[in-house]
Structures are given as structure tokens and as C-alpha cells.
């Protein structure tokens, strides 16, 4: 299929940029590998969706953005945050559920967010971020700024209602948004040709007034060019764009994925096009770096991840008092959380008066008794009994068997 922007290889950027690109992809790869290990050690809870294989798609796109542009992603978004410059410490700490996480431990792996770097979030619901990105683009336009947003989602999201709704709205209102479908060939375990009648996803928004283009998601330079051009059109011509990056995730959908929907041969075939190996080889072949240089870069990336993991492990869990923090902005209408949560005022008035704050604290402590050590022991105890790979809703059991991904 015609995927690439051009048949000829793209010209390499200058040495400094080339090395930076490689380093960024390596950082993401090593981060994700470590996250998988930490999940197996139960340092990370819930779901864990790794982007290994998609590094070129992520870094190519982010490098085409201005620092003032906004980025939104899905629940597979550790790489996007790292590409945008969020310190790996803050990302790993969030995965660990610690107070120093980007989202203070309230979001977890699927809900990273870094306002300072204009990374506007990972979103847990497939297709849920498209309307939000449309609104961000509306605000960029409304305020008369030159900013734009790149909204990333998977091939599966192209079947959601929000895909058509948001494409139409963005085109109708001429908003500065680039919708980017990361076609990694599967909506969870359902392959593209089994979930989408139209498999050239770049064409899927044409009927809504959003022209599309395709790029090779395994080639960081091809992605960079495609997204750069799409951003130009969205920004300057006020014509929203859809960019399809054709890529592949080497690991399972999440850590709880027995991968019965694809063959090892298929994965091996795609791995030959590993975006990091391919780019590294080209830099070596063209004399930009040596094998030794690469080893050093790789060691440096691993070192960064060592530091990030140590930082995350040393970061405390959020204080129990913070359970009710940040649900509301306090002000004229909401004085405090007790004003909206009826659990706090003294129950059974007419008997002993009790302070609202103390009661909430006691209740929080009672609930928290199930977390931390006891909880983790409990997870381990049950992890051998449960059926492996119970699907998205079953992080236990197969979740701890990380061999399924073959990485």
C-alpha cells in the first residue's frame, strides 16, 4: 500500500537533531520496557499499555509541533508525554501512584497530563479525546492565537461516533487541529480489516470535510514531514487534517493480553522494521554516529530510566488527606468538599457531635487499610489463581505473565 510520503528516503536532519531524535525514541523504548518490568513486580497497578514499536510515530509527530502547540493522546501515552519533554521521573511516579506523579497519583498510566508542556492528557475512553481536541482548537481560534493541536488516537477510535462528530465540527468551523490516527493494526484484539470497512483510514474523514494523508509510522522522518505539513495546513489555511501513521505495536494491547489474535510470525515480520533499529542503522551507515556512539546513547537512556525508577520508588504515596482534594475549585459556590459530600457532616445528629474533618479522615484510613502492603500481597496471592489474560478488565493473572508480548 502507498504509505510513505515519498518513495525516496527522506534527507537526514543535521547531526544534532538526528541524535536527539534517536535518543528520544530510545528513552521511550527503555522507559516502556522498564514499566513492563515494574508492572510484573506489582509496582504499577491497573492497566499498562505500552507503545513499543510506535516510537517513530510519536517522536516524528511531536518534533513537527511547536512548543506552543497542544497535544492530546489516548491511554497509550507514556511516549507522548516523554516526547513532549515531561521528565521520566514524573511519568514513572504517576505509574507508581505516587504523589510526585504528573497527575499527583490521581490519574495513573492512562491519565498523564502536563499543562506546562501543553500535553493535554491521556484519555481512557476510546475516541473520548476527539471532542476535547476540537474544543481546544476552538479556543485557539477564539483567542486569535496561532496555536494548533495534534490529537492522537488509535485505529479503533475511527469507529466511534465522536470521530465523525468531531471531524465535521472541526471542518465546519475551520479549526486548527490535526487528527492523527495511529494505525497500529488492532483495536485491542480486533484487526483493522475485521473492525473497519474502510481500511485506508486516511480516507475515512474525507466525507466530513477533513482531507487525509498517510505516512510510514515506522519512519520517524516520514511522520515528521506528514505531520509538519498537516500542521501547516491546519494552522495557516484553517483546514483540519487527518494523518494516518501506519505502525505496529510490538507488545500486547495491555499487559493482560495473551495475543491470540495474531501470529508470532506477523510480529517478527514487523519487528524487522523496528523504527529505532532502522533509524540507528541509517545513522551508522551514513556515518553520523558509530556503533560505540549508539551504545553510549543507549546506556544514557537506560541510566535516565534507572534514575526515574528510583525516584518513583522513593516518592511517597499521596497523603490520605488528599483523597478529596481537587474535585472542585473552591470559591463562592463550593466552600469545601464537605459542602458537597454528605458523608462529612456528623451522622445521626442528636447524638455525639463529631468534627467533619476527623470523620472523613477516619473513613479514609479505614478504606486505606486495604491498600499498600496488604493489598499488594493480596494481588500476589491471587495472581496465580486467576485465568490468564482475562481481557481488559482483568489486570491480575495473565497480567503478571509478561512473556506474551514476546519482547
Amino acid at each position: 500500500m502507498a504509505v510513505r510520503q515519498t518513495d525516496a528516503p527522506h534527507k537526514l536532519p543535521d547531526k544534532e537533531t538526528s541524535v536527539e531524535v534517536l535518543e528520544r525514541m530510545l528513552l521511550i523504548r527503555r522507559f516502556e520496557e522498564r514499566a513492563g518490568e515494574m508492572y510484573a513486580k506489582a509496582k504499577i497497578g491497573g492497566f499498562l499499555h505500552l507503545c513499543i514499536g510506535e516510537e517513530a510515530t510519536i517522536v516524528g509527530a511531536v518534533n513537527a509541533m511547536r512548543t506552543t502547540d497542544y497535544l492530546m493522546s489516548t491511554y497509550r501515552e507514556h511516549g507522548q508525554a516523554l516526547a513532549r519533554g515531561t521528565p521520566p521521573e514524573a511519568v514513572m511516579a504517576e505509574l507508581f501512584g505516587r504523589v510526585d506523579g504528573v497527575s499527583k497519583g490521581h490519574g495513573g498510566s492512562m491519565h498523564l497530563f502536563d499543562w506546562e508542556r501543553r500535553f493535554l492528557g491521556g484519555y481512557g475512553i476510546v475516541g473520548g479525546n476527539l471532542p476535547l481536541a476540537t474544543g481546544v482548537a476552538l479556543a485557539c481560534d477564539y483567542k486569535g492565537t496561532d496555536d494548533a493541536i495534534v490529537c492522537m488516537f488509535g485505529d479503533g477510535a475511527s469507529n466511534q461516533g465522536t470521530f465523525g462528530e468531531s471531524m465535521n465540527m472541526a471542518a465546519l468551523w475551520k479549526l486548527p487541529v490535526v487528527f492523527m490516527v495511529i494505525n497500529n493494526q488492532f483495536g485491542m484484539g480486533t484487526s483493522l480489516e475485521r473492525h473497519s470497512a474502510v481500511t485506508d483510514l486516511s480516507k475515512k474523514a474525507e466525507g466530513f470535510g477533513v482531507p487525509g494523508s498517510r505516512c510510514d509510522g515506522m519512519d520517524v522522518l516520514d511522520v515528521h514531514d506528514a505531520v509538519g505539513e498537516a500542521l501547516r495546513k491546519a494552522r495557516e489555511e484553517r483546514q483540519p487534517q487527518l494523518v494516518e501513521a501506519v505502525t505496529y505495536r510490538f507488545r500486547g494491547h495491555s499487559m493482560a493480553d495473551p495475543e491470540e489474535y495474531r501470529t508470532k510470525d506477523e510480529v517478527a515480520e514487523w519487528r524487522k522494521r523496528d523504527p529505532i533499529n532502522v533509524f540507528k542503522q541509517r545513522l551508522i551507515d551514513e556515518g553520523v554516529i558509530s556503533d560505540d556512539d549508539f551504545e553510549k546513547l543507549d546506556e544514557r537512556a537506560t541510566g535516565r530510566i534507572d534514575e526515574a525508577t528510583e525516584f518513583a520508588d522513593n516518592s511517597p504515596f499521596p497523603d490520605l488527606d488528599s483523597l478529596y482534594d481537587d474535585i472542585y475549585v473552591y470559591g463562592d459556590q463550593v466552600k469545601g468538599w464537605y459542602a458537597v459530600d454528605e458523608r462529612a457532616p456528623e451522622p445521626h445528629r442528636g447524638e455525639d457531635e463529631r468534627e467533619a474533618g476527623d470523620l472523613a479522615h477516619e473513613l479514609a484510613e479505614a478504606g486505606a487499610a486495604y491498600t499498600h502492603e496488604e493489598y499488594e500481597e493480596d494481588r500476589w496471592r491471587h495472581s496465580g489463581d486467576d485465568n490468564a489474560g482475562g481481557g481488559e478488565g482483568e489486570p491480575a493473572g495473565g497480567a503478571r505473565d509478561t512473556t506474551g508480548g514476546g519482547d
Binding site: E165, S166, Q333
Partner: protein
């Protein structure tokens, strides 16, 4: 004090807030050229232009989501869903985005937006177009919920909602749109979490939600004239935050309570309030807390059936008298 219709009071609030803050804009289906399905936004497109008063495609989930995205960047969108029934199509964005974003992203952003929508039965619109979802929205932490029953409250609370930094579900009532009431001139924003005592009484507390606050007041007059029962009628005005103190203080005085709502009984506003009242004023109750709610059925079309399916004055009177049985 000038009197005006509930819908005119809302229109005034929108106009004043559009004038006061450039970041305020309206977005919704047919709110502009068509002037609003219920004419709440009448004249505003002409006055403020398409940038501030934006007609949208029929795409509820994306309308709300776009509002959330714009709010994250500091705008103050006032989204109109044509009716509360269509909010079902937008629940993902209301719950997973509007209500959750601040909390799940560690308070790095806020979502200052208002989602206005009318509901209510009585227009023979059948099962899909007669919903009351106060209880559903009340259920969700992260949202504020307003249920104004008078023109004055409609205006004051809408102004407050637009100025507030939290996502607000603003539930209007189709039947109330045409009702007149006194509205203070140059009135400022109202206060969430402050109930109104619509009628003082010593014998039974009746809490009425939205239109049912009006129904409760009528029932109270009948109770007084025909049954020698003096009911205290409380209109909470907002359900989140909830002015539970006013309700509990009233129950401590009357020792009896009834909650009247137009939504379904199971998991309803009344169920919630009854639980709170028994938790916090158990020693004061002389009778079980009564609930008056819609019949536990999808809303039927046929007029007599429909009328039988949502609460009227006589249901409230009956429920109030029932709290005096066996004493």
C-alpha cells in the same frame, strides 16, 4: 420589582454574562438562527454574533466535549443541550471529561463550563423525551447541579454558574419556562448550596425539586385549608452543593419529611435525601420519610396515563397526611 418569565430571566442572565466577560460564549443546537428550541437564547445571536453564539451540528457528545476542551483553555462555554433527554448521548463527556478532568489530572486545569438543559414530563412526548435526570447528575462527584424553580433563581443561579470555575449541570424545566416571577433589577449572582424556605410551617417538611417545589407549595396550601396541617416547603435550589442544614433544621422542628421529585423513585433524589435525613435526624423523626416520585415506568404517551405517571398536588397532600398515621 419587575416580573418576567423564567425563560426571559435566563435570557437576561446569558446576555449580562456575555456582556461582562469576553470568554463567555454559547454553543448548542439551534440556539442562534432558530433562537433556541425554547427561545431561551432569543436575540443573542443578533446581539453578539456567531463567535459568541454558536449553532452546532447535532452531535451532543462532541458539543459537550468541545465545551470541555475550550474550558480547559480558559474560555467559559455555556453549552445548551436541547433537552435533558439528549444528555444521554453526551454522558461520556459529562462524566469522564467534565467531572473528572480536574481531579484525574492533579488539578492542573479547571473546567469552568455550564451545561444547560430542560427536562420534565407533561407534554405527551413519550418515553424518550420526558426524562428527569436530577438523580443521575447528582450522583457524579465533580459536577455542581442546579435546579431553579423560579425566574429569580433561574437568573441568579445561571449567572453564578457561568462565573464559577466548576462544571455546572443547569437543569431547567420546560413547564417553568412560561411561568412569571419577580426578578430583582441589577441582581447579582446567586449562591449555590442555599435552600429557600418557600413556606414556613411546623407540622411537616416538604422538599420539592425543580417544578415540584411549586407543586409542593400548592399542596401545602391545600393541607392548611382542608387538613389543618402546616407544611414547611423547602426548595433546595441546588442539589450539589446541597443545603442539608436547612432541611435538617426543618425536620428537627416538624419531625416529618417528604421529598417530591419528578424523576423515578429508585435511586432518586428522594431516596438520597431520605437516607441523609434518617442518618442525621433519626431521633427527631416521628414517621418514616415519605417520597413522592414519578411512577416507576417509562413515560407513556397517552394523556391520562402520562398524567398518572408523574406527581401532582394530590399525591403530595396524600403523602403528607400519611406521615400522621398511627400516631
Amino acid at each position: 420589582m419587575p416580573t418576567m418569565r423564567y425563560r426571559e430571566a435566563l435570557n437576561q442572565a446569558l446576555r449580562e454574562e456575555l456582556e461582562a466577560d469576553e470568554n463567555v460564549f454559547l454553543m448548542g443546537e439551534d440556539i442562534g438562527v432558530f433562537q433556541g428550541a425554547f427561545k431561551v437564547t432569543a436575540g443573542l445571536l443578533q446581539e453578539f454574533g456567531e463567535k459568541r453564539v454558536r449553532d452546532t451540528p447535532i452531535s451532543e457528545n462532541s458539543i459537550v466535549g468541545a465545551g470541555v476542551g475550550a474550558a480547559m483553555l480558559g474560555l467559559r462555554p455555556v453549552v445548551e443541550l436541547m433537552t435533558v433527554n439528549f444528555a444521554l448521548l453526551a454522558l461520556d463527556q459529562i462524566i469522564n471529561s467534565a467531572a473528572s478532568i480536574r481531579y484525574m489530572f492533579g488539578a492542573q486545569v479547571k473546567v469552568p463550563m455550564v451545561i444547560r438543559m430542560p427536562g420534565g414530563a407533561g407534554h405527551q412526548l413519550g418515553p424518550t423525551h420526558s426524562h428527569n435526570f436530577e438523580a443521575m447528575f447528582l450522583h457524579i462527584p465533580g459536577l455542581l447541579v442546579a435546579v431553579p424553580s423560579t425566574a429569580a433563581d433561574a437568573k441568579a443561579l445561571l449567572k453564578a454558574a457561568i462565573r464559577d470555575d466548576n462544571p455546572v449541570i443547569f437543569l431547567e424545566h420546560e413547564w417553568l419556562y412560561g411561568q412569571r416571577g419577580e426578578v430583582p433589577e441589577n441582581g447579582g449572582p446567586g449562591r449555590f448550596g442555599e435552600a429557600a424556605i418557600r413556606r414556613e410551617g411546623s407540622d411537616v417538611t416538604i422538599v420539592g425539586i425543580s417544578r415540584m417545589a411549586i407543586t409542593a407549595q400548592r399542596a401545602a396550601e391545600t393541607l392548611s385549608k382542608e387538613h389543618d396541617i402546616e407544611a414547611e416547603v423547602i426548595d433546595p435550589r441546588t442539589l450539589r452543593p446541597l443545603d442539608l442544614d436547612t432541611i435538617i433544621e426543618s425536620v428537627q422542628k416538624t419531625n416529618r419529611a417528604i421529598i417530591v421529585e419528578e424523576g423515578w423513585p429508585h435511586g432518586g433524589v428522594g431516596a438520597n435525601l431520605a437516607a441523609l435525613i434518617q442518618e442525621q435526624a433519626f431521633d427527631y423523626l416521628d414517621a418514616p420519610v415519605g417520597r413522592v416520585a414519578a411512577a416507576d415506568v417509562p413515560m407513556p404517551y397517552s394523556k391520562p396515563l402520562e398524567q398518572a405517571a408523574f406527581p401532582h398536588e394530590e399525591h403530595v397532600v396524600h403523602a403528607a397526611i400519611a406521615t400522621f398515621r398511627d400516631i
